[in-house]
Amino acid sequence: MDEMVLEKAQAAAIATQPQTAAAELREVSKVYGAFAALRNVSTSFEMGSCTMILGENGAGKSTLLRMVAGLISPSRGSVATFGTTPQEQRGRIAYMSHAPMLYDELSAGENLRYFAGLRGDGCGLCTGSPEMALRAVGLDPHLKRPVGQYSQGMRQRTSLARVLQSDPELLLLDEPFSNLDVESAEMMVTLLADFRTWPITSGPMAGIGRRTIILTTHQAHLGAPIADTTLTMRAGKIASVLKREPAI
Amino acid sequence: MTWHKFFDLGPLSSHPHNLFYAYAAVWILQGGYVAWIAKNWLATSKARR
């Protein structure tokens, strides 16, 4: 009986939102004074896709990503994630910037436990514990050293563990490979490729949805293996969109 | 009261001239503010051309 209801709900979910993109921008502009960081950008990110955004500094990559994360609001146009505003979907979106977004004075485990705790008790169970997330990125969960003393690579991995433990359906990565050596970067790509295969176990898309990744980078060759869409930005506009089968 | 008394500034030790100063201060401040608005208004008009 319960299963029937569940299946019906899922069928309804598929029927009603077949085209619902993980994130969609409609004629979005963002202006700071007389500088337009984004200019009339319209695009959508399919559920289950992995998009790599390329572009020079100041091309609007970070602005676009922060907007999808709901951290900044557009000056014009609208942004939707999973059909509603990013603010309403906070539990399903995770954002990782090139800054570690961790407290320097706390160890990796303490940082992750703190953020896991903030997500409330329901989420903590389904996501896997901070220990598991740290193991997944190849760090020792019992490390006592504060994050401030970590190397750049370790900090980046801890940062990745922080977003992965929240079990996001939409993962936003701003320059995840910056300041990383090639080996660490490749490991991160492998982790992300693995992450895409994780089944979704909770929320309205449980069992049917697929995970979406949007990442920005300078180093196209590092992101290329997992990206199925490459989006190039120039001066606040999308210059080109390229779709292909990912290598992994 | 007469105009003559209004402008009579008198010796500084007594204070009848305060009346004049008060009225003058009101008009200088209010008028100055309006003048400032007008100046900025003209400046924006120029900026638009």
Partner: protein, 248 residues
């Protein structure tokens, strides 16, 4: 975007000019009443005539803060719903804050000029002067904070929040200072409480005149701010529509 066709802009200009003329006429009548017609006050003599300019400013200085608070609340309400209306509310908020400061400054200044002959001191820390000084400080700090937080949307939001705090603080500090000063010997304030009916014409004409003047200035300052916003919007629009300088 065509902003102001001449035919549309004539009506408000004529209205403003008419209002200005009426205000000047009423103020002239008020001046004549205050200086020449109203009988000289028995104990204080002609200096008491400061009162006819002091009182309107003191009263109006208490009115404009509420305009500021209402506009700020309107801004917070419209911020996400209708950005252009929200900007209008913000323009009204900054205009009313500036007008408040002007009126309270004049109230303090004329009060001080009157206090010297009346009480023998320029400044008495009695309930009324202290509360007006606090009022003045609140709105000056509001204007400075506005300047510091930048002219963008974020700055407007922060300013609106400060305005709400100030508006809540005004009645509390008024009560607190009144209660505080009631236990201390304060200079006895003779005059406006027991005003003879023969002084009424000067009082009412001046209150009416300065109210007309104050709201006109509020309107002028508002339209100046609106104009600036429109220019900024145009600049932003230009920045958005600027063609890509890079050859594809």
């Amino acid at each position: 975007m065509q902003l102001e066709t001449p035919s549309r802009s004539v009506v408000p200009r004529v209205a403003a000019a008419a209002w200005f003329a009426v205000a000047l006429v009423v103020l002239a009548i008020g001046f004549r009443q205050a200086i020449f017609l109203v009988p000289t006050e028995a104990t204080m003599g002609n200096v008491q005539r400061i009162f006819y300019y002091h009182l309107p400013h003191a009263i109006l200085g208490m009115v404009f803060p509420y305009v500021n608070c209402a506009a700020s609340l309107a801004f917070l309400y419209w911020r996400r719903r209708d950005p252009w209306k929200a900007l209008g509310a913000d323009a009204l908020a900054v205009a009313s804050a500036e007008v408040t400061v002007i009126f309270v400054t004049i109230g303090l200044l004329t009060g001080s000029l009157w206090a010297k002959p009346a009480w023998g001191i320029w400044w008495a820390w009695d309930a009324r002067t202290t509360t007006y000084l606090i009022l003045w400080m609140l709105y000056v700090s509001y204007l400075i904070a506005r300047k510091f937080s930048g002219g963008n949307d974020e700055g407007h939001t922060l300013a609106a929040v400060i305005s709400v705090f100030a508006a809540i603080d005004v009645p509390i500090s008024f009560m607190a200072i009144r209660w505080w000063r009631t236990q201390h010997p304060a200079p006895v304030f003779g005059g406006d409480g027991s005003l003879d009916a023969s002084f009424y014409p000067a009082v009412w004409w001046n209150i009416a005149g300065w109210a007309l003047w104050g709201f006109l200035v509020l309107g002028l300052r508002y339209s100046l701010e609106r104009r600036r916003q429109r220019i900024q919007e145009e600049a932003a629009l230009e920045a958005i529509e600027a063609s890509l300088e890079i050859t594809q």
